[in-house]
């Protein structure tokens, strides 16, 4: 079968069917409108597209605000690593609980599941560790606030979940070093007080008898010995603590030098209110609808032709019957 004949049989023999499906596809393309999923309150739906019969002209425009964050991960060496980081972050920012928290934080009353499914987008920028978060709303200010709240929530969540053993260890070391510092400070105070008290010892009485002088000397010697013992003990403890502090600080420095501490997640570019609404995708959907209708029409027509073939044209009819074509009547014959 020639291509020409095939086209004539499929398109020419089933024009009405193909046209009907093309029109149907066009209608679908006009009816489906992405981006108008932000039905609020009782009209809330979880679908990112909805059929727009009726009230389509009154649908308000949508605004998208974007923010950029970097997470506490090592720099990716390939796009696959970047995509993996983005997948992790996406799983967090599209969790309804996190979205609900962000919505509550900025005071927006919308269905968290719908927003999470349709209006929060996260994508990596190339193969870098930088992620771009987009939030969409009918109001540009609220869109920016939502994007920033989602980014903050992402960072907090990452800090909570990715704080590993090394970070915890360093934190513990810091706590112990601070406690040692406090203890050493106490000891220094005690030493100073002891020295001061020893210098301020009471003078001997005015009894210069040999017996009295001897007793005073003995008492002073005893106090001096006691003070010296206390001072020695305090200094020994202080020395021990100082040694322990030095050891802890060395251990902390070693951990930091080994790179066990990941970079700090942070927002590198906060969202600002967008100046214009998002472009509509109506033309794309119309084109897709047309293409879909045409494909379906041609496909069904081809199937019908396979099941019940048609002979189209004088020549094809003569060939099918093995007879010459005598001519064509110059008028149309109608059935009874």
């Amino acid at each position: 079968m020639e291509v020409n004949e095939a086209l004539r049989r499929i398109l020419g023999g089933h024009t009405k069917l193909v046209l009907a499906l093309v029109v149907a596809g066009l209608g679908i393309g006009l009816a489906v409108r992405s981006g108008h999923s932000l039905a609020i309150g009782q009209y809330g739906v979880h679908s990112c597209s909805r059929w727009a019969f009726g009230l389509t002209p009154s649908d308000p425009p949508l605004y998208s605000a974007t923010t950029r964050v970097v997470l506490d991960t090592a720099n990716p060496k390939a796009e696959a690593e970047s995509a993996a980081i983005a997948s992790t972050a996406r799983a967090i920012v599209t969790s309804p609980a996190h979205v609900a928290a962000a919505l509550a934080k900025v005071g927006i009353r919308r269905d968290a599941a719908t927003v999470a499914a349709c209006d929060i987008k996260l994508q990596p920028l190339g193969s870098s560790a930088i992620l771009q978060i987009s939030a969409r709303d009918f109001d540009p200010m609220r869109a920016a606030a939502l994007a920033n709240a989602i980014a903050d929530d992402l960072i907090e969540t990452r800090l909570e979940t990715s704080r590993g053993q090394a970070v915890q260890l360093v934190s513990d070391l810091d706590t112990r070093i601070q406690a040692l510092d406090a203890s050493i400070g106490d000891l220094d105070s005690q030493v100073a007080a002891l020295v001061k008290s020893s210098l301020a010892a009471p003078p001997p009485a005015n009894d210069f008898t040999a017996r009295a002088v001897s007793a005073d000397a003995a008492a002073a010697a005893a106090r001096a010995a006691q003070t010296a013992n206390s001072l020695s003990a305090l200094r020994t403890r202080r020395g021990d603590m100082a040694t322990e502090k030095v050891a802890l600080e060395a251990e902390r420095e070693n951990l930091l030098a080994a790179g066990a501490i990941p970079p700090k997640p942070t927002v590198i570019d906060p969202a600002t209110p967008p100046v214009g609404p998002d472009p509509t995708q109506r033309l794309t959907y119309v084109a897709l609808g047309l293409l879909l209708g045409l494909t379906a029409g041609v496909g069904i027509a081809a199937l019908l032709e396979t099941v019940r073939p048609t002979v189209i044209g004088q020549r094809a009819l003569g060939t099918a019957l093995g007879a010459p074509v005598l001519g064509e009547l110059p008028f149309r014959l109608e059935g009874a």
């Binding site: 009405k16 009907a20 073939p309 189209i312 074509v325 005598l326 008028f331 109608e334 059935g335």
Partner: protein, 173 residues
């Protein structure tokens, strides 16, 4: 002469040539769409072939008259003396389902009459046809509730024509 008359005259001349080449005296018009009335077409072609539609045209000396008529079940007495060999001409729209040609092939095979040729006519515009290519006018729709209305009618006609052929063979013998 109008364009329509001219086209029809050319068609009639082709039909006459085909009939003479096949040496038949009767041309039986068979329509694929059985609801089409072929009698007016047959009459006009008959007149044109016998130069009756153009009074100024001279009669061709020695030319045999050819009977053109729609194929229908008729008693032998209705043949009006034409007992000569017959040929079939199919009258079909330019777009036809292949399955609709099967009864015609059956008819040709059973009668043994030669198929002289095909005359086409323009199909109805697609907006006047049914959704899947069938006309939706009540008269053209076969009675689905009664399966005897289509194939059985053709079968009866085939049986009657076979009897006519047998009688013609017997008379020649």
């Amino acid at each position: 002469m109008s364009r329509e008359s001219l086209d029809l005259a050319v068609l009639a001349s082709h039909l006459r040539l085909a009939a003479e080449a096949a040496q038949v005296q009767t041309v039986e018009l068979v329509a694929v769409d059985r609801s089409v009335d072929l009698l007016p077409v047959a009459e006009r072609l008959q007149r044109l072939m016998n130069n009756a539609e153009s009074p100024g045209s001279p009669e061709v000396p020695g030319a045999r008259s050819v009977l053109v008529r729609p194929l229908m079940m008729r008693p032998p007495a209705a043949a009006n003396g034409h007992s000569g060999p017959a040929g079939i001409v199919l009258v079909a729209p330019s777009t036809v389902k292949k399955a609709d040609l099967v009864p015609v092939s059956d008819l040709i095979g059973i009668t043994g009459w030669p198929l002289l040729g095909v005359i086409t006519y323009r199909s109805a515009p697609f907006w006047r046809r049914g959704f899947l290519g069938r006309r939706l006018s009540p008269g053209s729709q076969p009675d689905r509730a009664n399966p005897m209305t289509q194939r059985s009618e053709v079968s009866e006609e085939i049986v009657a024509l076979a009897g006519t052929r047998d009688r013609a063979y017997r008379s020649e013998a």
